[in-house]
C-alpha cells in the first residue's frame, strides 16, 4: 500500500473497507472519513433505534468510529466490515441501555436474557417494524419463526452461536448453517426488492 500513502480522497474512496480499516490502524485518519461516509447511516440508525434518543445516538456513533482507530479488532476474513460495525454498535447500545439505572423499564427489558425472544422488542423497535416496508414484512413472514429468530439473534442481538443454541434449543452444530440458510432465504424473497 506504499504508493497509496499520499492518498487523495479519490484514491481512498476506491479502497475496500478492509483496506481503509488497516490504513486507519496505521494512522491514516483520512480513512476514517470514508468509513464514516459508508457506514455512519447504519451505525447511527442502529444507535437511534436502540437508544431512542438522538443525542445518545450521536454520542455512541462518535464512540464507535473513534474506537475503530484503536480499540477494535475487525477480522476481514471472517466477514464484512459492515456487519462488524453493526454488531458492535448494537452491543454497545445495549450496554448503554442496561446501564441506565434510572430507567427501570429498560432494565427490565434487557436483563431477562432467558426469555428475550418475547421481551427484547422495545416500543421503538416495534414502531420501526411498523414502518418496515410491506415487501420486507412479507419476506420475513415467509421465514419460519425459528429462521427469523436465528437471524435476529445472530445479527441484531449479536449473540454467539452457543448462546443462540441455548436460547432456541437448537443443536450448536447446526446454528451456522441454519443462520446462513435463513439469510439466503430472506434474500431470495427480497430479490425483486433489492436493487
Amino acid at each position: 500500500m506504499a504508493e497509496q500513502t499520499g492518498n487523495t480522497e479519490k484514491q481512498l474512496s476506491d479502497q475496500t473497507d478492509a483496506e481503509l480499516y488497516l490504513g486507519l490502524k496505521a494512522g491514516h485518519t483520512n480513512a476514517l472519513g470514508i468509513l464514516y461516509d459508508r457506514h455512519a447511516g447504519l451505525v447511527y440508525g442502529l444507535a437511534l433505534k436502540t437508544l431512542g434518543n438522538a443525542q445518545e445516538a450521536e454520542d455512541l456513533t462518535q464512540d464507535i468510529f473513534l474506537n475503530l482507530i484503536k480499540a477494535t479488532a475487525y477480522d476481514s476474513r471472517r466477514g464484512s466490515f459492515r456487519t462488524f460495525v453493526a454488531i458492535l454498535t448494537r452491543s454497545r447500545a445495549i450496554d448503554r441501555v442496561r446501564s441506565r439505572s434510572t430507567v427501570l423499564s429498560f432494565l427490565e427489558r434487557w436483563r431477562p436474557i432467558s426469555h428475550s425472544e418475547k421481551t427484547s422488542q422495545s416500543p421503538i423497535e416495534y414502531l420501526f417494524q411498523n414502518e418496515q416496508s410491506q415487501a420486507v414484512q412479507t419476506a420475513l413472514a415467509q421465514l419460519s419463526e425459528s429462521e427469523q429468530q436465528v437471524l435476529r439473534l445472530a445479527y441484531y442481538e449479536g449473540l454467539s452461536q452457543s448462546e443462540i443454541a441455548r436460547q432456541l434449543g437448537i443443536p450448536l452444530g447446526t446454528i451456522k448453517t441454519t443462520t446462513r440458510r435463513s439469510l439466503l432465504k430472506l434474500r431470495q424473497f427480497l430479490t425483486d426488492y433489492i436493487r
Binding site: 473497507d17 473513534l66 446462513r180
Partner: protein
Amino acid sequence: MTWSMSSEHLQLLIAGYVLGDLDPDEAAEFERHLMEHPAIAAEVSQMQKALELSYAPEVEPPAHLRSAILSAAHEQLSVSNTPLAAVKRPSRQFSWSRAMNVAAAVAIVALGINNYRLWQTLQASQAETQRLAALTYSLQGTKAGNGASAIVVVNPNNLEAVLTVKNLPPLPPGKVYVLWTVLKQDAPFTTDSKSAILTEVFTVDSQGNISQTIVVPKAFRSQGLVSNVAVTVEDAASPQQHQGAPVMITNL
C-alpha cells in the same frame, strides 16, 4: 446479475461472510471465489442489503457529526497525513446506490485480505517479542572499582533498561563512565574491536550513585548473544575509543 448464477454452496458462503462467521477454511475458499468471480461482490452487497432492510434501517446522522468525529480523530492520532478534504456528501435517504459502488470496491477485497495477513504476521512477530522476560545483570566492582556495584534490568520488549549504580567514585572533569554491552565473538552485530557496543555514557552523583533509564541494543532480544555487561572510564570527548579497563563487570 441473475440469482441463478451461483451454486447454493457459494451463496451460503456469501451469507456466512455477510453474517461475519466464516471459519478460516471458508474464508480462504470465499477469497478464492471472489478473486475468480469479482461479480460475487455485488452478491455480497445484495445479501447485506437484505439483512439490513430487515433488521437495521439506515438513518442519516446530523451533518455536524462527521466533522466532530474527524476532528476528534485527528486529535487522537499524532500521526497525521494530508489534510482531510472537506468532501460534502450528497444527502441520501437510502444509500444502496452508494453501496453498489462499495461493492465494486469489495471486488478487490483480496488485496485487503493479503495486506491484512501481512499485518497479522507483523502483529504475531511483535507478540512474540512482547513475551520476552526481563533480564537482570548484576555488575560487581573490579580492583579498579572496588566496592562498586550496579544492576541493569533490561526489558527486551521495548529495549529499555534501568541502570542503578552504587558506590562508584565520582570522576574528575573530562572523564565519564561508559556502560558497554559485550557480545559473543560471532554475534551478528556491529561492535568495536573488543566485541562491545557503547550502550550508555553516564556520570555519578557525589555519593557515587545513579539510577536512570537507558536504551539498550537489540542484541538483548536474542538470548545468549550478550556475554557480559561492563563499565569503563573513558574520555568524555571520545568515549567510543574504549580505552579503559573495566571498573565493573558481570560474570566475575
